[in-house]
Symmetry: C2
Subunit: 378 residues, 2 copies
């Protein structure tokens, strides 16, 4: 995976000229010395720092003035030795080993499930609290699966300084983005069943997938055959069923994450979820069409008010001007946007709603959520 | 709308190099003299011949050896006088007027709802059978709304030579593509409720929208602001709620077409449908994620067999190699492709299925369906 250390948002450049993309993230020079370097802050390690999410971890740490005493940049042997600058200091990327976690309070992992399985438990043994962005431990009993706005109680007192390590799992991006909007409604009217269709961005498959989408698009526009390395088929001007392996029940693993993680996060084994996950030629934000069936009636005006008051959610629902959430408008944004809020005509007695949700896959779908979890550890 | 007379598929060139796009349409030189020019064939008029669907009408007439005695090329005043070649003969595009239909047996309309309202009834008065691709008459009582594979009986004996004109409506593209797959299952197990999320191509908004998507994509890749003439926002590397006006109930008109046309085509006022219609940056084929709830149990293996035997449907459902329908693979194809056929985990007792459907919006979603209707008139 290509590293873009000094330009962590190089992949976002396709959108920098857009009249509707308005990144609100504070843009800081790499030479700014931040107050976040604090003697009494935790020592932090970023595992998979050269990847799309690893780079976003750094951006979010800066944006949120996350305090730290020290920070280790960890990656595979291939990236070890590379130089990078973060908050005005120079760092050398170190190879991830079992010894990497000596003295580390918080490790932010985003290097794939096998790396998490190999090094996560070792880090915990050393007293590190691991916030893991992979799917490796999400469904393991006893491992909290946390969206801070949704189920902070699942952290049950895990803190830096408690004298022992712990594993905390970051949910899948599609689950986070869906539940940011669905949970406030669930809390009011209890969701019985949810039918989700996703429109997923390239970023979910990493920086190399984003590069491939851009490359393929250039190739197709030039009349050349598209390069298919990351995905097995043309992605430019096309869409396809999510590339995760398909299980014997016909659902792919991405879809089953939505089914299973929702149950765990809501502590509700009875909630019925079905999902169809599709990749669309969009760079870094996911969209989801969500049909909800409620135990109690919930009218659309009440739902809209609930969502307007929900933390981390912004309502974009302007019917007159046909302005609703789009992936581009939420790219590089923290909040999940929800719109197309309407009473489902196919259900009676106000027991159903349709909504359309968009969220930045790399940010709230991954890095931001993990760092919000890390903030709860302090 | 830009006219591309001698290159009716100029807009498809983005895909001509794709390793997965395999157009199966018979490609004929414009100088081929076809047997379809027959003394005893009907006289035909194509209304809106310079548009994307109008051009496809001509391709499909050729592909299917549609017999005709004469053919009139009709368009707006702006396009009148332009020269074109079709099946080895030269034609001059004529301005559409109330007199255009003298002696015309079949008129294929695709010039928008207002043109259909203005000229359709006048054509019928002159004894012409109008096959109308617009939404103008679809929900009018007594106007058959027909998908030939689904409800041919709705044509109730309308034929060329019966001595009077008639109006027949072509359903909306999303409805046709959805019902091609849903109907064979409905006939077996009765659909009670359907939740549809669409992934709609540029072509549904016409040739100019396809050109804008291509232009915008080039601009964004060059770091320029995207040109937004047809749509109000960036379409390249983005997606947005369908641009049809939103009704007071929160559904846009495209979604309500799915709701209402399904009821009429199935002659089932009780079927519950909800839909969320989204435009994605794809050129000419729509995709739809469809969740089905049945009165009777229907297992996925039976459903797959039913679909394999359904006319106009091809099953692409290879779980092992993650090969399912894509817009690119169905572009320029007649058949609607269906895959991701699986038992819906959120419904009990095999009463639910999820499917994913793709169909060429210009072809089966518009021109092909209309010409299949025209064939039934002979």
């Amino acid at each position: 995976m290509a590293a873009t250390f000094t330009q962590p948002h190089a992949h976002g450049r396709l959108f920098s000229t857009s009249p509707v993309a308005k990144p609100t993230r504070k843009l800081l020079s790499p030479f700014t010395v931040r107050m976040s370097l604090q003697e009494n802050g935790p020592s932090v390690a970023v595992v998979g720092v050269t990847g799309a999410v690893g780079q976003e971890f750094l951006s979010v740490l800066t944006d949120r003035d996350f305090p730290y005493r020290s920070i280790k940049m960890l990656a595979s042997k291939r990236s070890a030795g590379k130089q990078m600058t973060f908050e005005g200091r120079n760092y050398t990327v170190e190879e991830l080993t079992a010894d990497s976690f000596d003295g580390v309070d918080i490790a932010l992992f985003s290097a794939g499930g096998s790396i998490s399985k190999q090094f996560g438990p070792a880090a915990v043994e050393k007293g590190t609290i691991v916030v893991d962005n992979s799917s490796a431990f999400r469904m393991v009993d006893g491992v909290p699966l946390v969206i801070p706005e949704v189920n902070p109680q699942a952290m049950h007192g895990i803190k830096v300084g408690m004298g022992k390590g712990a594993l905390i799992a970051n949910p899948n991006c599609s689950t986070i983005i869906c539940l940011m909007a669905a949970t406030p409604l669930h809390q009011r009217a209890k969701v019985l069943r949810m039918v989700v269709s996703t429109y997923q961005a390239a970023s979910g498959a990493g920086a190399a997938a984003m590069e491939e989408l851009e490359l393929q698009t250039r190739e197709v526009l030039e009349g050349k055959p598209p390069t298919c390395n990351i995905f097995s088929q043309q992605y430019a001007f096309n869409l396809f069923s999510h590339n995760a392996p398909v299980q014997p029940n016909g659902y792919n693993e991405e879809e089953m994450k939505l089914v299973k993680e929702t149950r765990k996060i809501w502590s509700d084994l009875d909630v019925k979820v079905t999902a169809t996950c599709i990749r669309v030629p969009v760079m870094r934000a996911h969209a989801e069409s969500v049909n909800l069936q409620f135990e109690k009636p919930l009218d659309e005006d009440t739902a809209r008010e609930i969502l307007k008051n929900a933390a981390g959610v912004v309502v974009i629902d302007d019917r007159a001007s046909n302005h609703f959430p789009t992936p581009l408008e939420v790219s590089n944004k923290d909040d999940v946007a929800v719109g197309r809020i309407r009473q489902d005509l196919s259900q009676e007695g106000n027991h159903g709603l349709d909504i359309f949700v968009c969220g930045d896959q790399i940010r709230k779908g991954a890095a931001l959520n993990a760092i919000q979890i890390a903030e709860m550890l302090l």
